[in-house]
C-alpha cells in the first residue's frame, strides 16, 4: 500500500531472489548484530575455552596445550570446590528469598487491600513502593561498602543497635563479627544482596499483577476466595512467566555475586565461607598469574550458569504443564 510509490519495495510474491536494497536491509539488521555477536560474545567464549586447555601465564604470547589438566586441578582443589558450593547455595537461596519476599510485598500493595469495593492494595502503597525500590538505585559496590561498615563489629550500626537489646541479650552482640563468623558470614551476605533487590522485583511483579484483568479477582472473590487463596490460585499462575524470568536473573546474579562478596569480604570470609568462583578466578589470574587455570574456572562458571537456567526452565515447564489443564 504505501510501497506503491517505491518500486524497490515491491511485494515479495513469487520473487525468491533478493533485491539489492532488501539484501542491504537484511545485512544491516541481521548481519551486523551477528558479526558483533560472533566477534564480541562467541569468539571470546571460544578463546576462553581454548585458554582453559593451556598453561598460559598471561604475560607472554607463548603457551602449551595441556589438555584437561586445568580442569583436573580445579576439581581436586578444595578451595575452588568450596567456592562452587557457596555459589550453589547462593543460587538456591538468593532467588528463593528475593522472589518470595517481593511477590508477597507486590501482592500486598496491589490486591491485598480492603475486601470491599474495587480490588486494590494497602493504604499508602505507593510510598512502600518508592521506599523498597530505593536500594536498587544504589550501585552494588556502594551497597557492599555501606553494609561492610554497618556490620563492623566495634563501630557498626548493626551491633550499635543490637547491643541495646534488653535482658542481657545485647551483650552477645558486643564486638560480634557478623562477617567474621562462619555461621553468620554467608547469611549476612545473602541478606545484603536480597536487601538490594527486593524492591526492584517487587516493582516488576507489581507491573505484572496490574496486567491481570480485575474480573478474575472479582470472580474469585464472589466464589468466596480469601486473600491467601487469591494469591496462590489467581495471582501466582497469572504471572508465572515473570516469576520464572526473575528467578533466572537472580540466579545468574547469585552465581556471579563478585561485587557484593568482594566488598563485604574481600578475602573470602571466615574459612572461605563466602568465597565465590569469580573471586577465586580473579585471585588465580591476577595474583597467582595462572590465566589458563582461571579460564577453566570461567568455563565452569559459565556451564553452571547455563545449567541453572535450564533447570529453572525445566521445573517451570513441569509445574506449568499441570496447571494448564
Amino acid at each position: 500500500m504505501p510501497s506503491a510509490g517505491t518500486p524497490t519495495a515491491a511485494p515479495r510474491r513469487g520473487g525468491r531472489r533478493m533485491r539489492p536494497s532488501r539484501l542491504l536491509f537484511v545485512l544491516i539488521t541481521v548481519g551486523l548484530p551477528m558479526v558483533l555477536y560472533l566477534g564480541l560474545v562467541i569468539w571470546p567464549f571460544l578463546q576462553a575455552i581454548y585458554y582453559s586447555l593451556t598453561n598460559w601465564g598471561g604475560f607472554s604470547s607463548s603457551m602449551d596445550f595441556i589438555g584437561l589438566d586445568n580442569y583436573k586441578a580445579i576439581f581436586s582443589d578444595d578451595v575452588f570446590m568450596k567456592a562452587l558450593r557457596n555459589n550453589v547455595i547462593l543460587a538456591i537461596l538468593v532467588p528463593l528469598v528475593t522472589v518470595v519476599l517481593s511477590f508477597v510485598l507486590a501482592t500486598m500493595v496491589t490486591v491485598g487491600g480492603s475486601t470491599t469495593g474495587a480490588v486494590r492494595g494497602l493504604k499508602g502503597s505507593s510510598i512502600y513502593r518508592v521506599v523498597s525500590f530505593f536500594p536498587y538505585t544504589i550501585p552494588a559496590i556502594v551497597i557492599g561498602l555501606i553494609w561492610a561498615q554497618m556490620y563492623d563489629p566495634s563501630k557498626g550500626i548493626v551491633n550499635g543497635l543490637l547491643t541495646h537489646l534488653p535482658f542481657g541479650l545485647g551483650d552477645r552482640f558486643n564486638s560480634f563479627a557478623w562477617l567474621g563468623e562462619t555461621a553468620t558470614a554467608m547469611p549476612a551476605s545473602i541478606f545484603v544482596i536480597v536487601w538490594g533487590f527486593v524492591g526492584f522485583y517487587m516493582v516488576l511483579f507489581v507491573a505484572a499483577i496490574k496486567g491481570i484483568p480485575a474480573e478474575l479477582y472479582d470472580a474469585a472473590r464472589i466464589d468466596g476466595a480469601g486473600r491467601l487463596r487469591t494469591m496462590f490460585s489467581v495471582t501466582l499462575p497469572m504471572i508465572r512467566e515473570t516469576v520464572q524470568t526473575a528467578y533466572i536473573y537472580l540466579g545468574v546474579l547469585a552465581l556471579d555475586a563478585f561485587v557484593y562478596m568482594a566488598a563485604l569480604n574481600p578475602t573470602g570470609g571466615p574459612d572461605n565461607s563466602t568465597l565465590v568462583m569469580s573471586q577465586d578466578l580473579f585471585k588465580t589470574a591476577f595474583s597467582q598469574g595462572q590465566y589458563g587455570r582461571a579460564s577453566a574456572m570461567g568455563v565452569v562458571l559459565a556451564a553452571v550458569t547455563l545449567l541453572f537456567a535450564a533447570l529453572v526452565f525445566g521445573v517451570n515447564r513441569l509445574l506449568g504443564g499441570k496447571s494448564d489443564k
Binding site: G58, S60, E181, P270
Partner: protein, 471 residues
Amino acid sequence: MAQSNFAVNRRTVLRAALAAGITLPISGALASCAGGGSSGGSGGQSTGKTSANNPFGMADKSSVDAVIFNGGYGVDYVTFAGKIVEKNHAGSTVKVSPSTQISQQLQPRFVSGNPPDLIDDSGAQSIGVNTIASQLEDLAPVLEANNLEGTKIADTLYPGVKERGMVGDKMLVLNYVMTIYGLWYSASLFEANGWQPPKTWDDLIDLGAKAKSKGKYLFCWGKEAATYYQTMVMDSAIKEGGDEVRLALENLKPGCWSLPAVQGVLKKMEQIVKAGYMKPGGAGTQFTAAQAQWSKDQAAILYPSGSWIENEMKSQTKAGFKMTGIPDPTLTSSSKMPFEALNAAPGEQFIVPTKAKNGAGGKEVLRAMLSKDAATNFAKTKLAPTIVKGTVPSDGFGSTALQSQIKMLDAAGEKVFNIRFVDLYGTNPDMLVPWNSFLSGQLDAAGLTKALQGITDKVAKDSSVKKVDIK
C-alpha cells in the same frame, strides 16, 4: 510491553556483567592479536654509547616510559629522579605514569612485546615476578655502576638488597624502599602506664595482663591483614631456629610449619588468643579500621606491621602518639639470632623488561633514584628510609617512627633477614583464611598448622608453579 523491554535490558546487563567476568583474562590476548606479532626479540632496544656519565648507554634525546605504582608513596619521587635524568641528559624526557592496577594494565603490553622501560611492580594488583622472570633484565649492573656522586652504588646500600632481588641466578628486581617489620606502639602511652616494650613472648603475655587491667587489649587485627601476625610468628621462629627454619619455610619444605621453633611461637600466640588479649571481632573488621583502634582509640596497645604503618595511619593517629617500632620478640634466651635481628626487606619492586624500547633509560632513572639527592628527598617526604644508607638525620625529620627504624637497622647490622615465599607464590589470600579463624579463637594452633601446611604443600606439589630456589 514496556515491562518486557525493561526485562530484556536487565538481562543484557546481567549477561554483560557475567561475560565480563569470564572474558577478563582474555582481554590481554585480544590485545595481542591487535598488537600483530610485534614481539620480535629485543628488537626495540635503542642504545647509545656508554660512558662514565652514561653507564648503561642510554640513547641521546630518548624518552623513558615509567609506569609507577601509585600507592602509599605516590609517584612524585620517581618524577623527582626523572627530572635529574632530564637535566643530565639534555633533550631526553622521562614520562611517569601512575597506576594502581599494574597487572591488569600492563598485561596486554607484555603480551604484545611493548612493555614500559621501568615498572614499580607493587600493590595488591602487582605482577608475580616469577611469572614474568624470563622477560626481565638483570639489574645487577645497576648496583655495579657508580651513583651520580661517583661512589659504587652497591657500597651505599643496606644489606640484603641483592639477595631480595634474586630470581634464580639473576637479580631481576630492585626493591627501593626499606621496609622494617616489627611491633609498633605508642611511646607516650607506654610511658604514662610505666610499661616496658616487650622483648620476648613471655613479656608479651605479661603485658597482655597489664593491658587488660587497664581495660585495653594487647593486639587488634583486621580481616585483610590477619597475616601480619603470620609475619610476626615467622620472624620469631626464624630468630629462634636460625636459617634452617627460614629456608624450610622459604622453599616450602614438607612439615616446615611443624618445626619446633615455629610450633613454640605458635603455642605462645595461641596462649595470647585464649587469654582474651586480642580485641574481638577482627575477622569482621576492615584492616584500616582495626589499625585505627590501635593508633586512634588505643583500644589495643601493640600492632605488628611493616614500617609503612606510620604513613598509612597518618590522618588517624592520636596527637602525641609517638609511634615507635621494636623488632619482633624472641622465644627463648637460647635463640640462634639475638633480639636485635631484624626482618628488614626492601620493598617496592622496580623491574626493567627486556623488551623495553629504552631499558637503558629505565636503568638510568634507577641510578638517579639511588643517588643522594633523590634518596634523601624520598626519606624526607615519605618518612621512610630507602635502601640507600645515611639519608636520614638522627632527628628522623621529626618522626619518632623513622628514628626508631634507623635505630633498629643500625642495631641489626648484618643480622638482617627477610621472607619472600608468600609474595613469590601469591599465597597471602589463602593464608588469611586460617589466620582469621585462629586469631578469633575458632581454630587452635594445631588446626592452623595443618591449614598452613596444606597451603604450602599445594604450591610445592603444583608442577605448573615455577619455584624459586631461595638460599
